[in-house]
């Protein structure tokens, strides 16, 4: 809190809810930052002389004579290269015991990039994970979430992907993650020598939930600075966006707004889109790629949060435990990278799209064969072969622990096809068969 001389202090509180505080005040601007008895707050409604603030840390213990002062500006962040390697809270205050970096103050909400000034994202972001590079290739400037159940190791895999991907900068926006996962992120960044290139904004489950509302803006404002001003390839990690949306619902509820589906505010789509659309490829070379986590309730993707997310992001990645091998894989059926078309077969080898589709289709045949087997039907020769193929496919390609370069992934794919199938069972263009089929061309 920066109290300055002659700053007006307001004390006429007229209403309090768990999340908001309403008072009489003059000359206040919309979105302005304020402090209520020293707690951070922001203007979310002006009605005549009544101003409503959302109090980020909650209003417990705030009295009707609380002292309110206004900052005269919306939430902002001081941007400079000195942010590198640092840890901050939701308000951009240092939590690593080091001094507060100085720099150019900007409104963290930022402006919209003119769509005609965007570059088509078409640079592959390799991770060495076949479930991503082969089946759902990522591209710089893309936005994609992991849809994960709470019991899955999504934060560990998120950290792994971030560290393997080629980037100049990693910005972590943590919303309500466990303290343990926070330590995990910190340690893996450190162990892998990435400490200097990360900037972290941390809100753990111990911190007030409403503070989370500022995290994505802090993270994307930082990312925009490094991507636009410094022309860096920036990777933004946002975990967990479901807890962010839950915080939106709390405020909307306390503002007496009529909820739409699943008690979420009617503006959820726009609220989420504003964050995810910060992903961009600038023509000057810098880019922002967003990889987020949206946790699901019992795998339900029809819930408003994953549902709206799916309509905004450029695909989604599902983690799954393969029942046959017990290995964690990226689900080849439901996962999707919408921007893969911009690189596969163009920046990667020409056979990539058709080979990848054939592999996934045959893996689907295997899962049908498995359900036939479970229902006690006899398996035909093709069923048996597809089951054997599925096992190899998971062990040699999909296992998330593997680290394979993309050319080798294709070669392994062809090897597996030739081992288990005949050419006519694939429906692949003849020219690719002629060039890459390692077996007999029956």
């Amino acid at each position: 809190m920066e109290i300055q001389a002659f700053q007006a202090i307001y004390t006429e509180i007229t209403a309090l809810t768990k999340a908001t505080c309403t008072l009489k005040a003059k000359g206040i601007t919309y979105d302005e930052l304020a402090w209520v008895d020293g707690r951070n707050a922001q203007v979310i409604k002006i009605e005549g002389e009544l101003v409503t603030l959302q109090v980020f840390s909650g209003t417990e213990g705030i009295g009707t004579a609380a002292k309110v002062i206004f900052a005269g500006k919306p939430p902002s962040l001081a941007l400079s290269p000195a942010l590198g390697g640092r840890y901050f809270n939701a308000f951009g205050q240092a939590i690593d015991g080091l001094s507060q970096p100085q720099g150019k103050e900007v409104n963290i909400k930022g402006l919209t990039v003119n769509p005609v000034r965007r570059q088509l994202p078409s640079e592959m972001l390799s991770t060495g994970i076949a479930g991503i590079d082969l089946n759902n290739t990522l591209v710089t400037g893309q936005k994609i979430p992991f849809f994960a159940d709470p019991d899955q190791p999504f934060n560990r895999i998120l950290a792994e992907v971030a560290l393997r991907a080629d980037s100049d900068r990693i910005v972590l926006g943590a919303m309500g993650i466990s303290h343990d996962d926070y330590i995990m992120f910190r340690n893996s960044f450190k162990e892998r020598g990435a400490s200097d290139k990360i900037v972290s904004f941390i809100n753990t489950s111990e911190d007030p939930p409403l503070e989370r509302l500022l995290i994505p803006d802090q993270a994307t404002a930082t990312a925009e600075y490094f991507a636009f001003e410094k022309k860096e390839k920036v990777l933004v990690l946002l975990s967990d966006m479901t807890l962010y949306a839950d915080a939106l619902a709390i405020v909307s509820n306390k503002m007496d707004q009529i909820p739409s589906k699943d008690a979420m505010p009617g503006s959820l789509y726009s609220d989420l889109a504003r964050i995810y659309e910060k992903a961009v490829q600038f023509p000057e070379g810098g880019s922002i790629t967003i990889i987020a986590v949206t946790t699901l309730n019992d795998g339900d993707i029809t819930h408003a949060i994953p549902d709206n997310t799916g309509y905004i992001t450029e695909g989604q990645l599902y983690l799954k435990r393969d029942t046959d091998t017990g290995l964690t894989i990226i689900d080849p059926f439901r996962s999707l990278s919408r921007l893969k078309q911009n690189v596969i077969g163009k920046k990667t080898r020409a056979d990539h799209p058709q080979l990848m589709n054939a592999l996934v289709r045959l893996y689907a045949d295997a899962s049908e064969a498995r359900s036939k087997q479970e229902n006690g039907f006899d398996l035909n020769d093709f069923d048996v072969r597809s089951l054997a193929f599925a096992k190899d496919y998971v062990r040699e390609l999909l296992d998330v622990r593997l680290n394979i370069d993309s050319e080798s992934m294709l070669n392994i794919g062809w090897k597996l096809l030739a081992k288990h199938f005949k050419v006519f069972e694939l429906g692949i263009k003849q020219e690719f068969i002629d060039k890459y089929w390692p077996g007999e061309k029956d």
Partner: protein, 579 residues
């Protein structure tokens, strides 16, 4: 000009006390420092106007000044619209400075100083009425008609018309004299409020001609009509946008307007990137030359989403009045409905289903009603064909936007999650989707004149075969491969053949992405002949091997150019298999 002051702010909803006269849907401007932010009045009560702001309300405060414009939201109609990239309020995005869109910056729509070569089409003394063609100027490949202003009522005498030559868009090219002797000056451009349908035509018809999209599952099984309406609902990941883009690329329209309403910016960037390179099948010129993009992506102002679809429709109607075939694509109409919901919610109106405003069905019906094929006063025909995507919450079609659209759109292209999961693209469900136009006698006659006699029968036959395939598949999975008659396997594999050969289409393959009607006819006849084949199979393994080989050959045929040697080779191979 009426003035007002801000009395309340909740997100982008402003409550304004006004001093004078204010209209519903009037445009007003809020002064913020040296900038002015645009807003639209959406409700008036007790000397208070409620306005939706087309920008973020950051830094606005109590008693900030508001100026009312006296006008509704209008578009500028004139040469210079083709090939442009506009935002949802018809601001030229390419003319804006900088990488980021600054709040409240001054923008331009069309270039009023641009010079076009005018050729008069009327002579002095002619009696004219609203929308009559006075002259034309070349715009890309289109003869852009300069029309009598749409706002004029009654008959006017042409008293002056510019001789052929080069003129600026803003220059006077004609003068009209009204019944009472008043003189109206006409330039190449005019304004029209977007929420009013442009009705200056003689008559509207029932659609009778097929609108070619190059997609077999549409043209063959569920054809769209010129001047028709259709909607594409689908959960995320089922390929709505890829499908719409495929249609935008492969159609035979004279002009295409793409409205990106509340969707991803990168999708529009892809269009910006590819359309200047791609060749238009109709004109042989670049696709960009017949395409106008209205782009209000999801991170652009929510309130401008509604405006964007109306701006698109108004521009479509304008070009239709030049006697052109216009295709309007909107992705996604659900985002527009959601924008209406956000505002209704902030105004604390009593909500309808799923918190959508109660007037939603009427708003949607009205909008779809603006499509159609019309005869102009000079007997030329023009059409607006409209296809909208719907993004149903949770992929469940029982929700207000999908249901309201179903009542008014004549074609339904259901995107199936199951098909998308199985990577069977386009994921249009061939059975549940429909085209009501197939029931119109005049449409049937037109279609058979293109595809040959008995075509409608053949379409029904294919749908029956697909239906039987599903039933057979269900039986097989309940009873097991061995326990059903061989016919069930034949039925199943016939439907698989139709699925892989006809319905599935690779929108990323240069050849397969577009099937001209003659090719569709040839492929359908070939596939149906195969389906007649009963063969002599010993067991179900033989059936599946036989059909898998057929499907593989058919796939190769799909990747071959129509009537090429390769195509003929694979066609012969297929015929030989069943001989």
């Amino acid at each position: 000009m009426t003035k007002g002051k801000i009395k309340a702010i909740v997100s982008n909803l402003l409550e304004i006390e006004f001093y004078g006269e204010v209209m519903q849907n009037e445009i007003c401007f809020v002064t913020l420092g040296d900038k002015s932010l645009m807003a639209e009045v959406i409700k008036i009560r007790n000397q208070r106007a409620y306005a939706q702001l087309f920008e973020l309300s950051t830094s606005l405060k109590l008693d900030d000044e508001v100026l009312f414009s006296g006008e509704l939201l209008q578009v500028d109609l004139g040469p210079g619209i083709l090939s442009k990239n506009f935002d949802g309020l018809q601001n030229d995005l390419d003319a804006m400075k900088g990488t980021f869109i600054e709040t409240g910056q001054k923008n331009v729509s069309i270039d009023f100083d641009a010079v076009y070569t005018f050729t008069p089409l009327q002579e002095v003394g002619a009696q004219v009425q609203a929308a009559d063609w006075l002259g034309e100027v070349p715009e890309n490949w289109i003869a852009h008609k300069i029309m009598v202003p749409f706002k004029l009522k009654g008959t006017f005498e042409l008293v002056k018309i510019a001789p052929a030559g080069d003129y600026k868009v803003s220059e006077e090219i004609a003068q009209l004299k009204g019944k009472d002797g008043e003189i109206v000056s006409v330039t190449m451009a005019q304004k029209w409020p977007v929420k009013w349908a442009l009705k200056s035509y003689r008559e509207k018809f029932r659609p009778s001609k097929i609108f070619q999209t190059g997609l077999r599952v549409m043209d063959t099984l569920n054809p769209m009509a010129e001047g028709g309406t259709g909607y594409i609902p689908g959960a995320f990941g089922t390929g709505k946008t890829v499908l719409q883009q495929a249609i935008a690329k492969n159609n035979q329209a004279d002009m295409v307007i793409l409205v990106a309403c509340g969707e991803r910016a990168n999708e529009v960037v892809e269009i910006f990137h590819t359309f200047p390179q791609l060749e238009d099948l109709k004109t042989g010129r670049k696709l960009k030359e017949k395409t106008t993009i209205i782009c209000n992506t999801s991170n652009m102002p929510v309130a401008a989403r509604e405006a964007s679809v109306y701006v698109g429709m108004t521009i479509a109607e304008y070009y239709r009045n030049m006697g052109l075939k216009v295709l309007l694509l909107a992705d996604s109409t659900s985002r527009w409905a959601q924008a209406l919901r956000e505002m209704s919610n902030r105004m604390e109106e009593l909500p309808g289903t799923d918190a959508f405003p109660v007037e939603l069905p009427a708003v949607i019906a009205n909008f779809y009603g603006r499509a159609g094929e019309v005869a102009l006063h000079n007997d030329s025909r023009g059409s607006v064909t409209f296809l909208g995507t719907v993004s149903p919450a949770g992929g469940n079609f029982k929700e207000p936007v999908t249901e309201s659209t179903a009542k008014v759109a004549r074609c339904f292209y259901a995107l199936s999650q199951k098909r998308a999961d199985a990577k069977r693209y386009p994921a249009i469900d061939p059975i549940n989707s429909y085209s009501r136009y197939l029931d119109y006698e005049e449409f049937q006659a037109e279609t058979e004149s293109i595809f040959g006699a008995n075509w409608i029968e053949k379409v029904k036959k294919m749908k029956d075969l697909l239906q039987r395939g599903i039933e057979a598949r269900d039986q097989i999975s309940i009873l097991g491969d061995d326990s059903v008659p061989l016919d069930y396997h034949l039925d199943f594999w016939r439907s698989e053949l139709l699925d892989f050969a006809i319905i599935q289409q690779d929108s990323f393959d240069d050849i397969d992405m577009n099937s001209p009607l003659a090719r569709q006819q040839s492929m359908v006849n070939l596939a149906l002949n195969i389906c007649e084949y009963t063969g002599d199979f010993e067991d179900f393994n033989q059936v599946s091997t036989f059909y898998k080989k057929l499907i593989n050959t058919f796939k190769q045929l799909n990747y071959s150019a129509f009537e090429s040697d390769e195509y003929e080779k694979y066609a012969q191979e297929l015929k030989a298999t069943i001989a």
